[in-house]
């Protein structure tokens, strides 16, 4: 008789797996992460997200979130919602229009559709990101790779976002256009897109939560990635306690538009009794 033919045996077999390691997994508690970044205080989230997979978390205001493209072919598709108030969410159009720039990088504020800041980009060593092309879809991935369903070898970002959203009480209609980090697009003078690909292994971007936010991340190939093969490598996700941007910080006053966004956010949080 096999060892797992009884409930006792099955339980023992399952329990014996504790402590196993995979390349892509969350480390719980996060403070057990083997190689914490120097700038990190108390780690609150430590995870390696597999290529073609997703993750999600609620982060308190002031938390810093560092995404790292470990092997050079991660692409972190990202959505942000005000935690508990998902009708306030990332607005990509406002983000690029209000800040007069189509590209993402250090100093960019990720704006909600309420004239407030959800998060800010406080560091960026990759420099190749995209706010225009969104994520991939079931239809397109099925055309390109043969399948785009979540259980397939080539899941579409939108399908993974639907799952991450559902786990936060949100529906497909709650998925607005998303951002992508680590796989970039350049706009030519005539408006045409040029895919820049990745900056290579080890690039990282650090976001700072300026409100309590729900973060959804899908790690899948960029929709404009021209390669015929589905190439998606692990994404490292680390978050630690830090401090939200304050009056007097250089970022607060970096632009008049940003200063008004921080002021609006501070007014809102003060009125709510949250800051």
């Amino acid at each position: 008789m096999a060892a797992t033919a009884t409930t006792d045996g099955a339980r023992a077999h399952a329990r014996a797996q504790e402590g196993a390691r995979a390349e892509a997994m969350p480390v719980v508690p996060a403070r057990d992460w083997q190689d914490p970044p120097r700038e990190a205080g108390h780690l609150v989230w430590a995870e390696t997200v597999a290529g073609g997979n997703y993750t999600h978390r609620v982060l308190a205001r002031g938390t810093e979130l560092r995404l790292t493209d470990l092997h050079g072919d991660a692409c972190a598709h990202l959505l942000l919602y005000a935690d508990g108030r998902p009708w306030e969410r990332l607005n990509v159009a406002d983000t690029v229009k209000v800040q007069w720039n189509a590209y993402l990088g250090e100093g960019v504020l990720l704006l909600s559709d309420q004239g407030r800041v959800l998060a800010s980009v406080v560091a960026d060593t990759a420099g190749r990101h995209d706010a225009l092309c969104g994520t991939s879809t079931l239809v397109r991935n099925t055309e390109r790779y043969g399948d785009g369903s979540p259980q397939s070898a080539s899941p579409a970002g939108r399908e993974l976002f639907k799952l991450a959203a559902a786990k936060n009480g949100l529906e497909p209609r709650d998925l607005p256009p998303s951002l992508s980090f680590f796989q970039g697009v350049e706009i030519q003078g005539d408006g045409a897109l040029g895919f820049t690909g990745s900056a290579g292994p080890g690039g990282s971007v650090t976001l700072r939560a300026e409100q309590d936010v729900t973060v959804l991340i899908a790690n899948v190939p960029h929709p404009a990635d021209p390669r015929p093969r589905y190439v998606s490598t692990p994404l490292e996700v680390l978050a630690w306690r830090a401090t939200a941007t304050r009056p007097g910080d250089p970022l607060w006053d970096a632009t008049p538009e940003g200063r008004r966004a921080f002021l609006n956010t501070a007014e809102f949080l003060t009125a709510r009794g949250l800051a």
């Binding site: 998902p86 009708w87 607005n91 990509v92 159009a93 406002d94 690029v96 229009k97 209000v98 007069w100 720039n101 189509a102 590209y103 704006l111 559709d113 309420q114 004239g115 407030r116 225009l132 092309c133 969104g134 994520t135 879809t137 079931l138 239809v139 397109r140 939108r158 529906e171 497909p172 209609r173 709650d174 998925l175 607005p176 256009p177 998303s178 706009i187 003078g189 005539d190 408006g191 045409a192 897109l193 929709p223 404009a224 538009e257 008004r260 966004a261 609006n264």
Partner: protein, 202 residues
């Protein structure tokens, strides 16, 4: 069969456009931004996606031949004629809140496109979660080499028009943009005309 409606300056408008029918938007006085959202009429969770449209056509400007893609990467409408040559799908809609960032808090009392979309969408049970980055017909948003972008003087002129063919039954929401703080309306919003022509009349 043809129906014509003049949408007053600052006002909203909506209609179902059946598969095969065309919608012609005429810029009666020139340089008027027409903010535009489109949904599958039978399943409004399938709606216009700026990013899918941009990467499907490989560029950010909309003109003849551009297919307006849904968030499920299916075709909603196709631009079949365009007298202007360039329209925006990056800048999204003005709102009272974003106006406070763009111009200052003194603009908060001014009417804005998001309010038009919310008011018009409510007639169909659509709410804030149903608003996404939209098209701005007749609005000119160039992007420079370093990514700098901005709304600049329009390329349109009085009487120019564009025509869209519905690839399935769609619901269209329009905000005839009331913005008065940037060049998208020449600082003076004006009326536009919506014409729906039946498939047989095309």
């Amino acid at each position: 069969m043809s129906t014509k409606t003049v949408v007053a300056a600052r006002a909203s408008w909506s209609s179902t456009v059946r598969e095969g029918e065309t919608l012609t938007i005429t810029d009666l006085h020139g340089n008027q931004a027409v903010d535009f959202l489109v949904y599958d009429a039978h399943d409004t969770s399938v709606r216009y996606s700026a990013p899918d449209t941009i990467h499907a056509q490989g560029g950010i400007f909309l003109t003849t031949g551009s297919v307006l893609m849904s968030n499920e990467h299916t075709a909603l409408m196709t631009v079949t004629a365009d007298g202007v040559g360039r329209h925006d799908t990056v800048g999204g809609a003005c709102s009272k809140e974003s106006n406070t960032l763009r111009y200052g808090h003194h603009t908060y009392a001014q009417h804005a496109c998001v309010d038009n979309f919310l008011a018009e969408g409510a007639r169909y049970g659509l709410g804030k979660r149903d608003l996404v980055s939209n098209i701005n017909w007749y609005m000119n948003v160039p992007v420079e080499k370093d990514g700098t972008l901005g709304i600049v003087d329009g390329l349109s002129a009085p009487g120019l028009s564009l025509t869209l063919r519905a690839e399935r039954d769609v619901l269209v929401l329009v905000s005839n943009c009331p913005q008065i703080n940037n060049p998208c309306n020449g600082f003076e919003p004006t009326a536009v005309r919506m014409t729906i022509d039946g498939a047989d009349a095309a």
